[in-house]
Amino acid sequence: MRILFKTSYDQDIRLFKDWHQGRWYLLLLLALLVMPYLVSTFVLGEVTNVLIWSLAGMGLMVLVGQTGQASLGHAAFLAIGCYANAILQTRLGLPFLVTFPLAGLISGLAGVLLAIPTTRLHGIYLAIATLAVSILVEDLIVIAEPLTGGVGGIMVPDIAIFGFNINRYGNPFAFYWVVLVVALIVTLFYRNLLRAPTGRAFAAVRDSEISAQAMGVNVARTKAVAFGVSTGITGLAGALMGHFIGFVNHEAFLILISIQLLLMVVIGGLGTIHGAYFGAIVVVFLPQVLAFLRDWISQVSGVGSIVIPGIETAVFGVILILFILYEPRGIYGSWIKLRTYFELFPFYRRDMFRRQKSYLKTERMR
């Protein structure tokens, strides 16, 4: 059992409370640095995919987990980021290092624009409004054919950094490094935001708008900032996703992707950065696990190959239901329990994390 002695306020502010905590993240980073040399290119590609989805997840997490605003339209911002990045490169010939941040910026501005009319909406109404945006962007891609290639789609060029051409298949290592660096920077920024006044303003808006207002938090502005940061990060993820897929058309970012993103952050654990990563691992590796199981079953039973259309979505749905019923705090919640079990060994008690129901009624202004 470990006891944390705090000797300065800075200890609560800096990234890691003590050396013990920092050590684990250092190990994780080392593992990520060494991994490419140990696994096959296929697995490396999948891990790259996980990192890209984690980015998208972090984007949505800022909005849903931190600020408590629902969004069923984040695929639209993936699309905006992806197309902005690709079009700026192919049409204007700008280098990746310029177009990539621009893609995030454009997507973020689009998010702020969306926030201006929707900040007065709550819960289900906000979800519907964002859903509409998702559909709208899908149609816009088809309509703006001269720019986006419409139904025919466009090729996303290789990432070019200082003359090096980075292609997912050509040099998976370099592609992985690019994605890893972006993921690390975004994670650091996200963490910074959480420990700064903006992060607390997000939480205040999430938990009680009325009292956030009384504390001097400008609710509308905070929501707009949350939308901007969230869609900005999602735009970055979209840009990388475009490079990863290599070819995009109007079907690359359907509403299903929006829903999948939302399920991802819920399964991962709402309101935590870890949750975005855990959720992404599930989203990326679930199809692989299912394919593996399918092969195994057909082999054992001797029926031949079984194809069940839509099985992934169904399994995903079942997993979500199980999580909401038994572990509403997501994979991160389970992880915390496991960690506490080992940290306190042998003093862990079963009901340590039992949630207390409170029946206080609140007076909210709508």
Binding site: Y9, A196, A204, A214, G216, M365
Partner: protein, 261 residues
């Protein structure tokens, strides 16, 4: 000049007159209590001062500043903090984070300096923490610093909410029923705190409270309201013995007693 001046304020919800032509002044450094039966308009007055509602008529002046010209999120910056009748804390945050939100008023950093967590942001955070620790010391909240609100008992939540308001370092503190639902001992604690807030911190207190013992022991002046109208204003004793106040609470003689039985 008084710290807070409420002049001829009227608020109507449809046909219901919630506050009817109420005027009063709160002097700097006093504890001013609002009393009255349920539905008298006390909390509505608080919400008017917090700018959650726009009055139909009248004006509210704080420290020479016309409050009606400011949006609700400016009120804290002007130096008015408040608590809520039905506790409105940030449930999924720790006590410390709740108190730190109160420091939002002193925020100087912008989004970009916070994304990079520049040294100035860190310095400001340490300063915020130091200020919040003073409040934690004052209210004896040490044991709950890292606890999430969602798991805290009612009494502690009440105290945390008062702490969050104090973290704003206000000139005027609005306490909406600070002792409702508290035990006798806890109510005594509240009385001591209110005394200290007034004397040590020099903060003016305006409170709504039903517990007449608490009101009588801490407040300098009391205003009684009923049906949105001002009934009486004066020292606690004066108001308690005022015929209109007794009538509002107990009723008049002309109601036949037989009907009740």
């Amino acid at each position: 000049m008084s710290l807070l001046e409420v002049r001829n304020v009227t608020l109507k919800f449809g046909g219901v007159v919630a506050v009817n032509d109420v005027s009063f002044e709160v002097e700097e450094g006093e504890v001013f209590a609002l009393v009255g039966p349920n539905g008298a308009g006390k909390s509505t007055l608080f919400n008017l001062i917090s700018r959650f509602y726009d009055p139909v008529e009248g004006e509210i002046v704080f420290n020479g500043e016309n409050l009606l010209k400011h949006p609700p999120h400016d009120i804290a910056k002007l130096g008015i903090a408040r608590t809520f009748q039905n506790i409105e804390l940030f449930e999924q945050a720790t006590v410390l984070q709740n108190l730190l939100v109160g420091r939002n008023r002193f925020r100087k950093s912008n989004l970009f300096s916070e994304l990079l967590f520049l040294p100035s942001v860190r310095q400001a955070e340490i300063e915020n923490r130091r200020a919040v620790e003073d409040v934690i010391d004052f209210l004896d909240l040490h044991a709950y610093r890292e606890k999430y609100i969602a798991g805290l008992p009612y009494g502690v939540r009440k105290v945390v909410e008062m702490g969050r308001a104090l973290a704003i370092q206000p000139k005027l503190l609005l306490l909406d029923e600070p002792a409702s639902g508290l035990s006798v001992e806890e109510t005594q604690d509240v009385a001591f705190w209110v005394e200290d807030i007034k004397k040590q911190m020099g903060i003016t207190v305006l409170m709504v409270e039903h517990d007449m013992h608490l009101v009588a022991s801490v407040s300098d002046r009391v205003m009684a309201l009923a049906d949105g109208k001002k009934l009486a204003l004066g020292t606690p004793q004066e108001v308690q013995n005022h015929p209109a106040v007794i009538e509002a609470y107990i009723g008049t003689d002309d109601e036949p007693a037989e009907k009740v039985a």
